[in-house]
């Protein structure tokens, strides 16, 4: 079982990202489960969402306390929330930031991608939840690029569809390139 925890702020689409990741994993032939940390949604407040991916049916319903991967959509959260809490020893953090990942000094493997910039350039808005999924696929290989593109593509129509899919591809390519 792979467990992924999303940290974002209300309005950044963390819940949608968790759902789309579950859909992408399902497209790859896995069982998957996505759910939010249910709260009273407020724009800007820290929010959590979760995705589980498994070869077999997923039965557990609790929140995720020791994730394999953590996706941080907003780097300012690092100051107020212990985003790496419970992260497995060989786990990985993927953060939306234009900084050198070493600057975060959070004691775990961390990869950074300027997803906000990619989203602004490609989608025309700073909504980077789909872009971050491209980065996740590129950094971890847990889900395939094709399945993420299909999941994201099916969520949107027209130009938004095309742009979101392109942002996913760009983030995927960029994070792979940075790893070299």
């Amino acid at each position: 079982m792979r467990e992924i925890r999303f940290h974002g702020r209300g309005g950044q689409g963390a819940v949608t990202a968790a759902e789309l990741l579950a859909v992408a994993a399902f497209n790859d032939g896995y069982y998957s489960q996505a759910f939010p940390a249910f709260g009273v949604e407020r724009r800007g407040a820290p929010v959590l969402a979760f995705t589980r991916i498994n070869d077999e049916k997923i039965r557990v319903r609790s929140q995720i306390y020791s994730p394999d991967y953590i996706i941080v959509q907003d780097s300012t959260l690092v100051k107020t929330v212990n985003v790496v809490e419970g992260l497995k020893e060989d786990g990985m953090v993927i953060i939306n930031s234009n900084k050198d990942p070493k600057e975060f000094n959070i004691g775990s493997e961390i990869r950074a991608i300027d997803a906000t910039k990619i989203s602004l350039d490609v989608i025309g808005r700073p909504i980077m939840n789909t872009t971050m999924l491209g980065a996740f696929a590129g950094a971890t290989g847990v889900v395939s690029l094709e399945s993420v593109k299909k999941a994201v593509g099916n969520r949107f129509e027209g130009k938004l569809k095309e742009r979101n899919v392109r942002a996913v591809e760009m983030a995927y390519g960029k994070i792979k390139e940075d790893a070299r």
């Binding site: 069982y31 249910f38 009273v40």
Partner: protein, 390 residues
């Protein structure tokens, strides 16, 4: 198997299933966390994807009252509500069951105010236990869907004619994306033919439903409801056998999980059982003889099935998301009550757990089992009580 599935939000899966049951009339009032179910249904009606009529109302009281009228004319009817909405329906619940109308409703389980909580527990449906409604509890979204056509088929049987609620945990199921199999329409049609009531409201042939009953006859009305609920026990078993033939999935009034040699038996209803299954697998790896009895049908109450499942156990732990204040959990009381006159009685412990949306972890349940084994548990407890804030 996964090839035949699709991945959907629980609420959407339920809405699609309601549509496939070919309901004639839907009436509901939106309330968190039931909202997505009725929004999805309203959209399907607006888009012409179903012939159902969606009657908008100003309250849950009116929603169920509307369905009473519709059901009495012979329509297949559906509603969904939760928490305060169910509480507001209280009076009408008894009217629906007293008039013997097979209305089916998804009760999305949520805690009751005050203090205001929009999160999950099962206090709402447990609190209407005595309203004469069939009550089923779903462990996952597949069950939340499958129990709907099963509920219609049991409820609409001429020997039963009782309303039914299919309970699913709010957020934990309604807002979770997971794979489900939504059957082909032709299969649902094969399993669930249209509703053919014997008595209907008809201007050409006037009838009265729910009329006045003086003391010479009221008891007999209540007895007939009781008798129908007892008959629903056997009817359910018949209906799930047919369900399995058509859809290939097997259900029972209860589900036994690794009970064969179990000395410790955990009992619960709803989504908590999923997490408990993972706990049992872990404990079994450590050679603990532990198993689960999942209650799917709370009313009719599967007393004999529960007796058979626990009579050889050493200890039984009932985990439930409700409390009868000042007493103990409702399910715990029910189980202890019928076990009292039996010969072989294991020790029975009860826990109110996951109230008002508090997360329940694998560690919580493992800890509870180990405390009971060490004889450190009370007969009834609130699990994980934060004593420092009391």
């Amino acid at each position: 198997m996964i090839n035949e599935m699709q991945i959907l939000e629980g609420s959407k899966a339920v809405a699609l299933t309601v549509k496939s049951c070919r309901v004639d009339v839907i009436s509901a009032y939106p309330i968190t966390p039931q909202t997505h179910i009725v929004e999805d249904l309203a959209q399907m009606v607006a888009d012409g994807e179903t012939d159902a009529e969606y009657i908008k109302v100003e309250s849950e009281f009116s929603a169920l009252s509307t369905l009473i009228g519709a059901s009495a004319t012979g329509a297949r009817t559906y509603s969904s509500t939760t928490s305060q909405g169910l509480a507001l329906m209280f009076e009408v619940l008894f009217n629906a069951s007293g008039m013997r109308l097979p209305i089916v409703m998804t009760t999305v389980n949520r805690s009751l105010s005050a203090p205001l909580s929009i999160w999950n527990d099962q206090q709402d449906s447990i609190s209407v236990r005595d309203a004469g409604w069939i009550q089923f509890y779903a462990e996952d979204n597949q069950e939340a869907c499958d129990l709907l056509p099963i509920a219609y088929k049991v409820a609409e049987d001429k020997d039963i004619l009782l309303p039914a609620m299919c309970c699913m945990d709010g957020y934990i199921l309604t807002h979770t994306f997971e794979p489900v199999e939504i059957p082909e329409q032709s299969l649902t049609d094969e399993f669930l033919p249209s509703y053919q009531p014997k008595y209907v409201l008809d201007p050409e042939n006037p009838l009265t439903f729910g009329a006045y009953a003086d003391p010479s006859i009221y008891t007999e009305f209540r007895y007939q409801q009781h008798d129908a609920m007892l008959k629903a026990y056997k009817k359910f078993e018949e209906v799930v056998r047919e369900f399995e033939k058509v859809f290939g999935r097997r259900y029972g009034l209860v589900e036994e999980y690794k009970l064969e040699d179990a000395e410790i038996v955990l009992i619960s209803m709803g989504s908590l059982v999923g997490t408990m299954k993972d706990v049992v697998d872990e404990l079994r790896r450590d050679e603990e003889k532990v198993g689960i009895l999942k209650i799917i049908s709370y009313r009719p109450f599967p007393a004999e099935k529960i007796y058979k499942a626990i009579k050889d156990a050493k200890v039984v732990l009932v985990l439930e998301k409700d409390v009868s204040v000042g007493m103990e959990g409702g399910l715990l009381s029910d189980i202890k009550s019928f076990m009292y006159n039996r010969e072989d009685r294991p020790s029975i412990f009860g826990f109110s757990i996951g109230l008002g949306g508090r997360d329940v972890t694998i560690g919580d349940i493992k800890g509870l089992v180990s405390r009971v084994k060490r004889r450190e548990a009370e007969e009834f407890e609130f699990l994980n009580l934060r004593r420092e804030v009391l």
